[in-house]
Symmetry: none
Subunit: 189 residues, 4 copies
């Protein structure tokens, strides 16, 4: 992904690093591009060289720094008859690659920036798909109707994606493993 050249890309990377920190801490609107430049230790003009508009910084961050890892095989973590373990493993090998800072940005700005919201939705959809898939493998047969399984997957997805934000905002911590166990019980093993 990185361009060649000695210092090439360095500046661009430093700019994105700075933007990530500042957007996460203060929000996109409250962060001046001049501050980004200062923190990145590049001249103000250079920021606009790489990112002609301020919004391009946000778009680039979301595009380049949040993604769902492509895992070799989902079945790896899914184990028939062990939904709790399956969900726990999913939580541990959680496929969303995004720094805590990027997550804050993602959730905060999704509310007002469509491009961010679209990304968040696609990430959410992907995690949900995996959780559902894992549960289907873990609970073969018809035990537990489809609707319940869907609710379980959605609930677990929400906990997985939002756990950091929830604890950040509310001060309460939710342990995904414990929720996995709860959900497994609900699905009636």
């Amino acid at each position: 992904m990185r361009k060649r050249g000695r210092q090439e890309g360095d500046a661009r990377t430093r700019i994105l690093d700075a933007a990530e920190e500042l957007f996460a801490a203060d929000g996109y609107e409250a962060t001046a591009t001049a501050r980004v430049a200062r923190r990145a230790k590049v001249p103000k003009g250079l920021v606009f060289h790489y990112f002609p508009q301020k919004i391009d910084l946000l778009v680039a961050l979301v595009e380049e720094r949040t993604f769902i890892e492509v895992l070799p095989a989902e079945s790896v973590e899914a184990m028939p008859g062990d939904p709790a373990g399956t969900l726990s493993r999913l939580a541990r090998r959680f496929p969303l690659r995004a720094s805590p800072a990027m997550r804050r940005i993602l959730f905060r700005e999704a509310d007002t920036h469509r491009s961010v919201r679209d990304r968040l939705r696609s990430l959410n959809g992907e995690v949900l798909r995996r959780a559902r898939g894992a549960l289907e493998v873990a609970l073969p047969g018809t035990r537990g109707d489809a609707a319940r399984l869907e609710v379980a997957a959605a609930t677990f997805t929400a906990v997985l994606l939002y756990q950091e934000n929830l604890s950040q905002l509310t001060g309460e911590h939710i342990d995904p493993d414990a929720v996995a166990d709860l959900i497994a019980r609900a699905l009636g093993t």
Copy 2:
């Protein structure tokens, strides 16, 4: 104390109404006080007459327009032996009084404004307390250890508080009743 003039209180209320709408739609930072004034149909200066600083608008909204209703008795909704019904009733008589707009504001701005975060935390704590209390009544005896009950309460609280935001951000809807049912099953009836 207040006079009962033609437009009594109107101005201040209209200003808060306008701020609520705009902050919810575009975010606090992206909303100019001039726009608030325009939408409220008051002159710009009057906004500052009532709210000397822009931030005071946000503080006032959070203080005056989000609160947990004091219910006569929690036992009203809690019914021994029926945790699913108990949680469903809690969801339906949900004690948080805050418009959808206020909730968006609450979650969005909590990330960067301490006073909002503090409020959100206290609201969250209160809802959690009630969910826990309801479950304790619904599940008398020692069935289900305390830790599990705690996780159940926290999960349900998160779903309750965040359901609108979740669906707004992700496009997926989570039905609190279905989650209530799920959790009830998990608690092993």
Copy 3:
């Protein structure tokens, strides 16, 4: 000068007191009428009841709170053959009645407000006239030509009028008595 009536004038006086303090401390321009009202403990509207324009506060202060006292007879302090003592007595019975605060206002605002400057000039002229007169009495005959006497009077007047401002601005104190002595020597007793 004061109007009759119970609380009558009270408010007006308190307003002027407040304005005097604040204008002296921060300058006329930097003092908001609202602050004057607050310090005077009167509602904002009342300030404009008594002083329709902000500038009227300054004009009233200067007109009512700075003046040269009319002394019974100038000769009282002048004593032939004793110019030093004469000047010293003039300094001690200094006829300008104006609080230190009013003096600061006088000098500061004279620079930009014509009405204040006019007042300061007339006060200065009066003091100069007295100093000159006193010296003429103290130094009868033709000893010391008129020009020198004029310079002496002007210098002493400047020291008298400006001593507080000088020490305020420069941190150095000038003792009028010492200057009186100096000038007396210069006039060659």
Copy 4:
């Protein structure tokens, strides 16, 4: 470091020139930054590019446009046995480099702005030091005790520094040469 472009330095200098004129004429508080920009013929934003806060204009003016010239040797002007001539020469080679406009600013704003007052005090101290030094050279021996010499130096310093302000405020002119002569006589030649 600075480029030698077409208008090199011009903008900043023009801004300071404009500020000097306007502050002197109307006072710091009564001068809007927009007026400074207009008079300097630069866009409003550029004023804040060079002087992030309005007060920085005043500080820069005082720092860059008022100073005591370093003279080769004070003895040049001091001549034993000729205090009047010595003081006159001091007045003529007066070492304070500050335009009449800057002096008005200096005296006017010293009253409310500490940084200006500090500068004025240091300038005053320096002039006083020179006057004292000159008189000590001009009056060798013990003629005239130290206290009297101090008063003479202080009086002359005040006249020197304030002459323009005095005449501006009072309409009376004081001739430093005449005061020099007066003081020389006082010191008893």
